[in-house]
């Protein structure tokens, strides 16, 4: 890519099958092991390794155990604050969700291109984030109907709604409820994709400016490079924030299902 004059900022999102392209299929659906699946696996393995440090279960924790405990404590506090004491049983799901997205986002930002490995951020694909969003939404639906039955529909009629307004409010609330899985999945996908595209576009400015001579290098490349450094810091922040937002919204939706209004 560096040899090409033009840098394609979307190329980084291309899914490349690694193996199993032709014959790996279930019920006719192709399930080839791609670079996306590879980075899901890497995120899972790194997350597992990270969590192993928290399994020493010492009374006085070391640094690593402290990090793991601050992560679990963070999710536990979030669930306690948003769902209450019933939030405890969703800890495994919300914690897995938060840590898996966080590790995926952060690993996708690693500058491994320097050593020839191209990190792939699978959270920049709505096929991946959509699965997580639909999972969260399905849990909300299952919990809501399991606990409240058809009374769950009262979620769409806030308390104190005047009688003539009920049909209209019901439709509006229903639509806003049904939009949740889309907003949940798209938010993460758009945020990750936008950040990676921005970095790629700025890096193409740096390379293009440098190729166009010393004048353009000073005019374009150096300011772009400084901006890139700042945006890299911002992207690390966004990686954490988007994982947090995903987990937070999931816990808020679970709260709706647990307690209605």
């Amino acid at each position: 890519m560096a040899t090409e004059a033009k840098v394609d900022p979307m190329h980084q999102f291309t899914i490349e099958p690694l193996f199993g392209t032709d014959h790996w299929s279930i019920a006719g659906f192709n399930v080839a092991f791609t670079n996306s699946a590879l980075w899901m696996l890497i995120s899972a393995v790194v997350l597992y390794a990270f969590m192993l440090g928290g399994m020493k279960r010492e009374l006085v924790p070391g640094r690593w155990q402290m990090m793991v405990e601050s992560m679990t404590g963070f999710i536990e506090d979030m669930l306690a604050a948003n769902v209450g004491k019933e939030g405890r049983k969703y800890l495994p799901y919300v914690f897995s969700l938060f840590m898996f997205i966080l590790f995926a986002n952060l690993l996708g930002l690693l500058p491994l291109g320097l050593v020839g490995i191209h990190p792939f951020t699978f959270t920049s694909h709505f096929t991946a984030t959509g699965v997580l969003a639909i999972l969260s939404f399905a849990i909300v639906l299952v919990v809501g109907f399991w606990k409240h039955g058809f009374h769950f529909f009262s979620l769409f009629v806030p308390h104190g709604t005047p009688l003539p307004m009920i049909p209209l409010i019901f439709v509006i609330e229903l639509v806003s409820f049904l939009v949740r899985p889309f907003s949940l999945g798209l938010r993460l996908f758009v945020a990750m994709m936008a950040g990676h595209v921005l970095l790629e576009v700025l890096s193409s400015f740096v390379i293009g400016g440098a190729n166009a001579g010393a004048f353009f290098m000073g005019l374009v490349s150096i300011p772009s490079f400084i901006l890139m450094v700042a945006i890299c810091a911002l992207e690390i922040l966004v990686a954490g924030i988007q994982a947090y937002v995903f987990a937070l919204l999931t816990s808020l939706y679970i709260n709706d299902a647990e307690h209605l209004h």
Partner: protein, 163 residues
Amino acid sequence: MPQISQLAATYSSQIFWMLVIFGAVFFLVGRGMAPRVIETMEGRDQKIAADLAAAEAARRAADAEDEAWRAQASKQRGEAQAVIAAAKAEAAKATEVRLGTAGAGADARVAEAEARIAAAREGALAEIETVAADAAADIAARVAGLTVAADAARAAVKDVLHG
């Protein structure tokens, strides 16, 4: 945009691997590890709370013990002071009694001595009178050749001495 242009070719693989790998993460990390980490944290919190409660109880017990000790010490001090006061009073009384006895003995001996002195003086005076009367009678006999009766001499001497 590969997300859309590759959608038809890759969606099944993406969904399949996401479910498989996130499922593994959920069961291994979410269900296997996170609750145990939380358990460890709760165990530690409980231990700290228990230790703090034990320390508080120990402090209270020490305070109570200190209070009891103080009360006992002040009681014992009071008792000791009472014993000292009683001993002092007793000693003073004994001293008084002994002083009284000793004083009485001394008084009696003084009176006796005074009586003896008075008697001695009386005796001495009488002797002087006799000696003086004898001497006067002698002198009168030798000088004037008078014979003076002993009684007269004594009366004359008495007159001169006491005169």
